[in-house]
Subunit: 422 residues, 2 copies
């Protein structure tokens, strides 16, 4: 790919001609308007005109992605790649999104448009990327290798600070490496962040002094106001904390950029709202381009659901997301730690291990699977460790469970390794 171009691949769907529509996107999103203008000279076009550089036809659809009550199919589809001159876009993420992504959704005559990928030239390596990523996360947690086991405070909302502190004490004793606030918990009236920190940090420090183990706690610092976001960041840092949960879509690109440039915390991204962007296969955006943008902005740990998640996402989509996160954009250091989560209790270890490249470079997050274990949270953590140990050694679940009562109890409560807790 030329070094002076940005290339975007769109999946275009229309009752008309996908190639013509690709050309219209290239024109509208660079130098064109609805009528010919004297100022659109050859020099202007040479400087800024986008152009279609590839078309790959796909099977047409009978049912359009967006209802088309006055039209009819077949709805023809193609993956069209458009090259935008770097000179016209620059390296600002707001310019990339406005020029290369957002405007395309407004074009008349589409019944579907999905951004499949964005290829960025080396000039885009100017963005900060993760401050900690995989290696830094491991260093801060003191887990040099192997699986990282995480949990989340439950119930999601409603606990008073001292109740949260008690839940943290239980999870620390259960043996997790990482605990997080639920993404929905930030700084509500009944549990202001400062009071929650004051209640919880002594539990973490005390556990560290007693055991030598420093559990990473990710605090819900999100605010749509970057000044508040930074005040929250500073509260965590001043109390000796080292991580935060960031609701990336809710704070937006500006909030994330502002935070990253000032942050001393490991930033654990929750992508709530992403489902709207991606759930309809003919609309929105693949996870691949989406995660590139947020990685460049500085995400250290990325929640990406898991096998048999409790949400809508199919397993194949999770597997692709995992591989996307593991693929360097410009260097291996820009890879975030993938956080496998949602309805996880250990039974998915075999499939996860097999389908994500037999790696243990991941954080495995159990919520209800740990809190709800019939023998208690420590048994929940033990069951997860047993499941992953068995998966990595190709030992079937039933065999492992015979000598490990915690895993056996999980299997009974949450279903076999093919079961789902949803």
């Amino acid at each position: 790919m030329p070094r002076d171009e940005i290339r975007v691949t769109y999946r275009i769907e229309t009752s008309g001609d996908p190639e013509a529509l690709a050309g219209k996107i290239a024109s509208d999103q660079s130098t064109g308007t609805f009528t010919e203008l004297p100022g659109e000279t050859a020099a202007v076009r040479a400087r800024c005109a986008a152009r279609v550089v590839g078309i790959e036809p796909l099977e047409p659809l009978n049912v359009p992605s967006i209802p088309d009550p006055t039209g009819h199919g077949p709805y023809r589809r193609a993956d069209a790649t458009v090259a935008f001159p770097l000179e016209a876009v620059g390296t600002d993420i707001a310019a990339l999104l406005t020029i290369c992504v957002n405007g395309a959704y407004s074009v008349r005559g589409l019944t579907g448009l999905r951004v499949m990928d964005i290829d960025l030239p080396p000039a885009w390596a100017c963005h900060p990327g993760p401050q900690f990523g995989i290696d830094g996360s491991r260093r801060l947690m003191g887990v040099a290798e192997g699986l990282i086991i995480a949990s989340i405070i439950k119930p999601s909302l409603g606990l008073l600070p001292e109740e949260t502190a008690e839940a943290v004490r239980v999870l620390c004793e259960a043996g997790v490496d990482f605990i997080k606030d639920d993404e929905k918990l930030m700084s509500p009236g009944y549990s202001p962040l400062a009071e929650r920190i004051a209640a919880v940090m002594p539990v973490i420090h005390e556990h560290e002094q007693r055991t030598g183990k420093r559990v990473m706690y990710a605090w819900g610092i999100s605010s749509a106001d970057p000044d508040t976001l930074m005040r929250n960041h500073d509260l965590v840092l001043d109390a000796g904390g080292n991580a935060a949960v960031v609701n990336i879509n809710s704070i937006g690109h500006g909030g994330m950029s502002f935070l990253r440039r000032r942050s001393a915390l490991c930033l654990h991204a929750h992508r709530n709202g992403w489902d709207l962007l991606t759930r309809h296969p003919g609309l929105g955006m693949e996870f691949r381009p989406y995660q590139k943008i947020w990685r460049l902005l500085g995400v250290d740990q990325f929640q990406i659901n898991g096998i048999r998640a409790k949400y809508w996402e199919p397993d194949e989509s999770f597997v692709r997301s995992f591989r996307d996160c593991m693929t360097p954009i410009f260097s291996p250091a820009d890879r975030p730690l993938p956080v496998v989560c949602s309805g996880q209790w250990g039974g998915q270890a075999w499939d996860t291990y097999a389908r994500t490249g037999r790696t243990l470079d991941l954080m495995y997050l159990g919520g209800g699977g740990i809190h709800g274990h019939p023998m208690g949270p420590a048994a929940g953590v033990a069951a997860i460790r047993q499941a992953w140990q068995a998966a990595a050694q190709d030992i079937p679940a039933e065999v492992m469970a015979k000598e490990h009562p915690e895993l056996a109890a999980s299997l009974r409560k949450f279903g076999g390794p093919g079961g789902s807790p949803s």
Copy 2:
């Protein structure tokens, strides 16, 4: 509505029971997880549990909004209103979005979900809202009453700073009240913002000295980095400028919040990317709740397309958007100036005037309709003024055109009053 609640109305679509799914959203988005937990006590639920307070069944669909290859219809629908305790959410926009909007899109078993409205209690009046709005915009432009006529620099991209300055000179002389950078123009290599300002501001100042008319120019200051955004803001302010184009979705809530709290400029919002949120009628979000959030964050002028826009948006959607903008959230001062745009050339004046409440409290933005007028840009502006004068006096287009050659030329080139330039 109780003062201690936030109410969100979702249009739910499912092959199952919409009411049950509404209950699941209320539970998942407050205190629930996938398994029963000892900590979810009555006290916790009283503090934070959301509840369904209204269900209005709608006609079922045969074709699901999101493909459902292994299932079958009918796909039942309902508008469900869920009340969230203010105590659980607070007044932060990131919390509102994460708890009340984003999570709902991830629920399993939906074939469609659209956020129809968000009702906010008086505590939410803490947000700054527009700094200028309708009255402030009029004051800065020196247009105390009547239609505000605007244009945009074309071609969108590719002009050098001195070429932009020449386009501005032409538009000033043509008699517009407002000019803007295309939303895709921010600070690219061939036209850095500082150089563009240095070339253009003398033209605006000179025009003001000669005619007494201060044309408002909105500069493309957007950046995903709030520090750069503020540097751009300051460049404009230091040069005597008074307005900016802001790509709200590209800078995100954090960028907009940061800017508003420090801004001395009138903020003209471009909503590129919104189409993805709203184009499929069964998914995403209505404009109504969307614009409330951005108004609270401080949008002064809101681009909302127009009748017979060149984009996909149907006229009825534009009319609803106009009314949404004109409806106070907490006070009339939180209303932005509606900017009617996209393929506008004057021919839509009659329908626009009739369908938006016979008001002239709007900015009417012509791009190609002014630049591409066969008698030149001044005639393009004159034709728009003639069209709106006729519309306000109930004079048909053909009658007005008989004595107004500029309007007559527009009608010939761009189509009759029912015509569309697309």
